[in-house]
C-alpha cells in the first residue's frame, strides 16, 4: 500500500537508476563479490561498501523480505514493527516504530548496511543523519516490477549473494511471463484499485505508479488519480471503471461491494452496476514491492481475468 500511493519523484530525477544498479546480469559467474564495491541505489547515490555486510538494518517490510528471500535473514539486526514476513523477523529488534525510524536504535545496532525506503517513507532527515554518520545506506524505491528485480539484484550484489539473487529474479520473471501469457489477447477492462476512501477523499493508483504498472501487467487498464493517487469522484465516474478492486477491504471488513454501492454517486459506475466490485484480501503482497510481488501479480490477474486461470 505504501509504495503504491505515489508517482516517482526520486526516480524521475535520476533516470533509470535500476540500469546502473544491475550492470552485470551475469554476475552469477563470479562466486564472491570483490569488496570494497560501489553500487548505485534508487536515489542515484553511489554507495561504497567496504566489506561483506554482516549486520543489516531494514527500514521497510519489502526490504526485509528481499534480505530474507536471499537467505540472509540471520544478518538482520533491525527491522520495522510492521514487519510480518517471513515470521522469524518478528524476533528481530524493531528500529522503526509507528513508521518513525529511531536513529539511536539504528546506530546502536551498529549496522554495516542500512536498507532504506524511498519517497519519504524513510524521512529525508533520517537519510541525511545516517549518511552524515557514515553508515552505508541504500535507498530502495522500485517503480515497476523490473525495478523490484533490479533491487533484489542490487541487494544481492551489495551483500555478496549475487548468485542467489539471479536465481530468485529468474524464477520471478518466469512466473510473471506466465501471467502475461495467460492474460494476453483477453479484453482489458478498466480497473480502479481502491487504496482508501476517507472523508470523501478517494485514493487509488497514482499516475505512473507501481500499482498502475501492476494492473497493466495483470491485463487491466488502470484508472488512476493524480501523482499522489487522489482521484475526484466525478473523474472516477467519468472514467467509468468496469472493475473495482477494494484493496482497503483487506484491513477493514466493513468495506464491501455492498457498502461501495451505497456510497452516494458511486451507483452510476459500470463496475457497481454490474456487480464487479471485489475485495482484495491480498492487498499486502500486491502493494509491497518485495520478492512476493509476483504472488501479488498472480492474485491481481486472477481477480481481473478469472476466466484465464480456470
Amino acid at each position: 500500500m505504501l509504495a503504491a500511493c505515489q508517482a516517482a519523484p526520486l526516480a524521475t530525477a535520476t533516470p533509470s537508476p535500476s540500469a546502473s544498479a544491475t550492470p552485470k546480469p551475469s554476475a552469477s559467474a563470479t562466486p564472491a563479490a570483490a569488496y570494497p564495491l560501489t553500487v548505485t541505489d534508487d536515489a542515484g547515490r553511489a554507495v561504497t561498501i567496504a566489506a561483506e555486510p554482516t549486520k543489516i538494518v531494514s527500514l521497510a517490510p519489502s526490504n526485509t523480505e528481499v534480505v530474507c528471500a536471499l537467505d540472509a535473514c540471520d544478518r538482520l539486526v533491525g527491522v520495522t514493527d510492521f514487519d510480518d514476513y517471513p515470521p522469524q523477523v518478528k524476533d528481530v529488534p524493531k528500529v522503526v516504530v509507528q513508521a518513525v525510524p529511531d536513529v539511536e536504535k539504528i546506530v546502536a545496532a551498529e549496522p554495516s548496511l542500512v536498507l532504506a525506503a524511498g519517497n519519504q517513507q524513510t524521512p529525508q532527515a533520517v537519510l541525511d543523519r545516517l549518511e552524515s554518520l557514515g553508515i552505508p545506506l541504500l535507498v530502495l524505491y522500485p517503480q515497476t516490477l523490473d525495478g523490484v528485480y533490479a533491487d533484489i539484484e542490487l541487494v544481492g550484489r551489495a551483500i555478496g549473494v549475487s548468485e542467489r539473487a539471479a536465481t530468485l529474479t529468474g524464477e520471478m520473471r518466469q512466473r510473471a511471463d506466465a501471467v502475461a501469457q495467460a492474460v494476453a489477447g483477453a479484453a482489458r477492462p478498466r480497473v480502479f484499485y481502491e487504496v482508501s476512501v476517507y472523508q470523501g477523499v478517494i485514493y487509488g493508483a497514482g499516475t505512473d505508479s507501481f500499482l498502475a504498472s501492476m494492473i497493466e501487467l495483470a491485463g487491466g487498464e488502470p484508472v488512476t488519480g493524480d501523482a499522489t493517487g487522489v482521484i475526484q469522484l466525478e473523474n472516477l465516474v467519468s472514467a467509468d471503471p468496469q472493475l473495482i478492486l477494494l484493496g482497503d477491504a483487506a484491513y477493514d471488513a466493513s468495506i464491501t461491494a455492498k457498502s461501495v454501492a451505497a456510497r452516494p454517486g458511486w451507483d452510476g459506475i459500470a463496475a457497481v452496476k454490474d456487480a464487479a466490485v471485489k475485495p482484495m484480501p491480498d492487498d499486502l503482497i500486491i502493494t509491497r514491492p518485495g520478492p512476493r510481488i509476483v504472488d501479488g501479480l498472480e492474485a491481481l490477474a486472477r481477480a481481473i481475468h478469472p476466466e484465464s486461470f480456470e
Partner: protein, 365 residues
C-alpha cells in the same frame, strides 16, 4: 519633608540585588547542567551513566582512557544526543528570551515570539523546502545538498521568518511610528495569508505530509552539529545585544511617551528590539520548527517569580527556557520520538491555565 534624614539603606533604590541575581542565575545554571547530564544519559537505547560520562570526558575534554564502550554508543552520545540536547537548549533559550522581549515590546503578557509573523513565515519557508522537491523533481538534488552544513529547509525557514516580520513591520509603520495594535493586527493578517499557503502546500504534500506535520509541531529530531553551529552565533549575538538593552526594555514598559521622556529613541528602539528578537526566533525555528508555549510560558512565569526587571528576567528566561525545552525534548524522545511541540503544549497549556486561575484569585494581580 517628614522622612528622617538618615542615610538611605542600599535596598532603598531597589532593583535586583547582586545576591538575588546570583541566586537566580546560579540555580538556573545548576538546573541546566543537571538537565544536560540527564538528557544526554537517557534515550531509547540504554547506555550506562558511567559510559556516558567517560565518552563525554573523552570526546569533549580529550582525556585519554580505555574504551569500555562500543563505537555505536559513542556515536549515539556524541553525534546524536549531545547536539540534540544542546540544540534543545539553544532553541529554548532563544524562544524564551524572544518571548520576554515581545511581551515587553507589545506590553502584552500573552505575546509570544511568533505573534507578528515569524512562525507563519518560517513555516511557509520550511514547507516550501520540504514539498518543492516532491512537486518539482528537478529540485531533489538541490534539497539533498547541504549549504554551509544546513539544508534548504533551514535556510528557507530562517529567511521566511525574517522576511515576514520585515514585511509586517513596514506595512504597520505609518508616519514614522509603529503602533502596537496595528503591528499585532498586521501580523495577524499576514500570518493568515501565509497560513493559507501553508495549508495549500500541506494538501499537495502527499508523502511528505509527515515531515511537514513534524515541522509544524516542532521537533528536534533533525538537530545536528552543523545546524547547531549555524544557529548558535545568531542566537548568542541577539541575546547578548538584547540583555545589554535591559534598561530600555524596562523603560518601554512605561509606555512610548514616558520612555521618550526618559531619553529612549522609541521608534528606533522598537525596530532594533523587534529585529534582534526576530533574528533569535528565526534562527531557532530553522533548527526545530515551531515549538509552542516555551516563548509564552517561561517569561510569564519568571516575571511572577522574580519580577519584571529585564536585567535579571532576560538572562533568567534564557537559562530556564533552555532547561525546560531540553527536559521536554527528553520526554518527547522517551515517548517514542513524538514532536516535542506536542509535549510542550501538553505540559504548557494546562500549566498556563492553572496560572491564569491563580493570578485571578491572587490579590491585586
Amino acid at each position: 519633608m517628614r522622612a528622617a534624614a538618615v542615610p538611605a539603606p542600599r535596598s532603598l533604590v531597589g532593583g535586583p540585588t547582586l545576591t538575588r541575581s546570583a541566586v537566580v542565575l546560579g540555580s538556573g545554571l545548576v538546573l541546566l547542567l543537571g538537565v544536560l547530564v540527564l538528557a544526554v544519559a537517557l534515550g531509547s537505547v540504554g547506555i550506562g551513566i558511567d559510559d556516558t560520562a567517560r565518552i563525554l570526558a573523552h570526546r569533549l575534554l580529550g582525556i585519554p582512557m580505555a574504551r569500555t564502550w562500543s563505537p555505536g554508543a559513542e556515536t549515539i552520545i556524541f553525534d546524536l544526543r549531545l547536539p540534540r540536547v544542546l540544540s534543545a537548549m539553544l532553541v529554548g533559550a532563544g524562544l524564551a528570551s524572544a518571548g520576554t522581549v515581545f511581551q515587553a515590546l507589545l506590553r502584552n503578557p500573552m505575546a509570544d515570539p511568533y505573534l507578528i509573523g515569524t512562525a507563519a513565515g518560517a513555516s511557509l519557508g520550511a514547507i516550501v523546502g520540504i514539498v518543492a522537491p516532491i512537486l518539482v523533481p528537478a529540485l531533489v538534488l538541490g534539497a539533498g545538498t547541504a549549504w554551509l552544513g544546513i539544508g534548504l529547509v533551514q535556510v528557507l525557514a530562517f529567511a521566511g521568518g525574517l522576511l515576514t516580520v520585515l514585511v509586517v513591520y513596514s506595512i504597520a509603520r505609518s508616519g514614522g511610528g509603529v503602533h502596537v495594535v496595528t503591528l499585532l493586527l498586521t501580523g495577524y493578517a499576514i500570518s493568515s495569508i501565509l497560513a493559507a499557503a501553508v495549508a495549500l502546500l500541506m494538501f499537495v504534500s502527499g508523502r511528505a505530509l509527515g515531515a511537514v506535520f513534524a515541522w509544524l509541531m516542532g521537533s528536534l529530531a533533525a538537530a545536528s552539529w552543523p545546524s547547531l553551529a549555524f544557529a548558535t552565533p545568531l542566537v548568542a549575538i541577539a541575546l547578548t545585544l538584547l540583555v545589554l538593552r535591559w534598561r530600555r526594555l524596562n523603560l518601554l514598559l512605561l509606555g512610548d511617551t514616558a520612555a521618550a521622556h526618559l531619553g529612549v529613541d522609541v521608534e528606533r528602539e522598537k525596530l532594533v528590539l523587534t529585529g534582534l528578537a526576530t533574528l533569535a526566533t528565526s534562527a531557532v525555528v530553522a533548527v526545530s520548527g515551531t515549538i509552542g508555549f516555551v516563548g509564552l510560558v517561561v517569561p510569564h512565569v519568571l516575571r511572577l517569580a522574580i519580577g519584571p526587571d529585564h536585567r535579571l528576567l532576560l538572562p533568567a528566561s534564557a537559562l530556564f527556557g533552555a532547561s525546560l525545552l531540553a527536559f521536554a525534548d527528553l520526554g518527547a524522545r522517551l515517548a517514542g520520538g513524538i514532536p516535542v511541540g506536542i509535549v510542550t503544549a501538553l505540559i504548557g497549556a494546562p500549566f498556563f491555565l492553572w496560572l491564569l486561575r491563580r493570578a485571578r484569585v491572587a490579590p491585586a494581580a
